[in-house]
């Protein structure tokens, strides 16, 4: 059941014309930063992890309006609920599909972004590991916010306001991942978001 749902969500993500938007956005933000802060290589290298993380967070937010709202509008959620399929399962499948759809391309584009903000190879690998640990949390938060704002006008902007404060722990431990123990705390923060995410999204999706 879960695999059928994930497969379906992935098929929809793959067919979406917006598939490459988060990645292009991610690379563009990384490319713009050197222009914004000037060509000081030392400064760039120092702020590079922060830049990449903020870009990743915004990239996770980009498709938030298409994550849940269309399914509420076109009756897909009704069809799933009338089959007695738990909304938690639906939300969990959506989180997995969203993560595969935005985080994997992001990791693939990371070398480009890393070069643009002047990272060395060791720093790049550490950041890749941190992103691998932290992006599931961003996917979970995006799905929760999408479920909360489904059917609201301007839901995307509101979803951003919901996610940004909740993503703080992930950002803090992700950016500071070279400090001892930070990766474990990042993994813990990510785990909490991923564990709570399906239940929070399901509570928002239930109609009464």
């Amino acid at each position: 059941m879960f695999l059928i749902l994930v497969r379906r969500d992935l098929a929809l993500v793959m067919r979406s014309p917006a598939l490459w938007m988060p990645v292009v956005f991610f690379v563009l933000v990384a490319a713009l930063f050197p222009f914004a802060v000037g060509p000081d290589a030392r400064l760039l290298t120092r702020i590079a992890p922060g830049v990449v993380w903020v870009a990743a967070l915004l990239a996770a937010l980009l498709p938030v309006e298409t994550l849940i709202a269309p399914d509420v509008e076109d009756g897909t959620i009704d069809q799933l609920a009338s089959r007695g399929i738990a909304m938690e399962l639906v939300a969990a499948a959506r989180i997995v599909a969203h993560w595969l759809g935005f985080a994997l391309p992001l990791l693939a584009a990371l070398p480009i972004a890393a070069v643009l903000v002047g990272m060395d190879v060791a720093q790049g690998w550490r950041l890749a590991l941190a992103l691998l640990l932290g992006t599931p949390a961003l996917a979970a938060l995006a799905v929760v916010a999408a479920a909360l704002t489904a059917g609201l006008r301007g839901g995307g902007a509101l979803a951003g306001l919901i996610i940004l404060p909740l993503a703080l722990p992930v950002l803090i431990f992700g950016v500071g991942s070279d400090a001892p123990g930070a990766l474990r705390l990042l993994a813990a923060a990510s785990l909490v978001a991923v564990a709570i995410g399906p239940f929070a999204a399901a509570a928002a999706l239930r109609q009464d």
């Binding site: 059928i4 067919r15 076109d74 009756g75 069809q79 009338s82 109609q207």
Partner: protein, 173 residues
């Protein structure tokens, strides 16, 4: 409060027509039966799985009709029933067509084919003939009769006759 003091029992092979003016609660009652809404008081029991046809068709614009229906059939464990269900709704020739190109009547038939393929004993149909031409309505009537002949049940919100033989009638509003 939309309605209160409603009660009915449906035997295998039975059919119930919900009638009443717009806004009288026919769709809400169907949604309660489908488990999509909770009544403020009272309960629904038995009936087994539900096949629900609502106003929205739950078809994704970019996906071909056949793939779309196959996804739902896979969720229902009814892939072997799908071909017959699509044939019963005269959709076999449209399997390769992306859902955005379908007319509203064809979408309605697709929703009905999904109910047919689900294998659910209880069909909940919200104005199933809305947007259907005469030939399609006749196909629906035949499908409902065949479903009832093997012990299936139908609850339909209707305006006028939809070709159910000897249905029980519940008037709302």
């Amino acid at each position: 409060m939309l309605f209160d003091g409603i009660g009915f029992t449906l035997a295998p092979g039975g059919a119930l027509q919900l009638e009443g003016p717009n806004g009288s609660g026919k769709s809400s009652l169907l949604r309660i039966l489908a488990g999509l809404l909770s009544p403020s008081d009272g309960a629904v029991s038995g009936g087994g799985e539900r096949g629900f046809l609502g106003h929205e068709t739950a078809l994704k614009a970019r996906i071909a009709l056949g793939d779309e229906l196959r996804h739902w059939a896979r969720l229902d464990g009814g892939e072997t029933r799908l071909a017959a269900a699509m044939a019963a709704m005269n959709l076999t020739g449209l399997a390769e067509v992306p859902c955005r190109h379908l007319s509203s009547g064809q979408r309605r038939r697709a929703g009905l084919a999904r109910v047919l393929a689900s294998g659910a004993p209880l069909w909940l149909l919200d104005e199933p003939t809305a947007g259907l031409d005469l030939a399609s309505s006749a196909m629906l009537a035949a499908a409902m009769a065949a479903h009832r002949a093997v012990g299936g049940m139908v609850v339909a919100a209707v305006h006028g006759d939809i070709g159910l033989a000897a249905p029980a009638v519940l008037k709302l509003g």
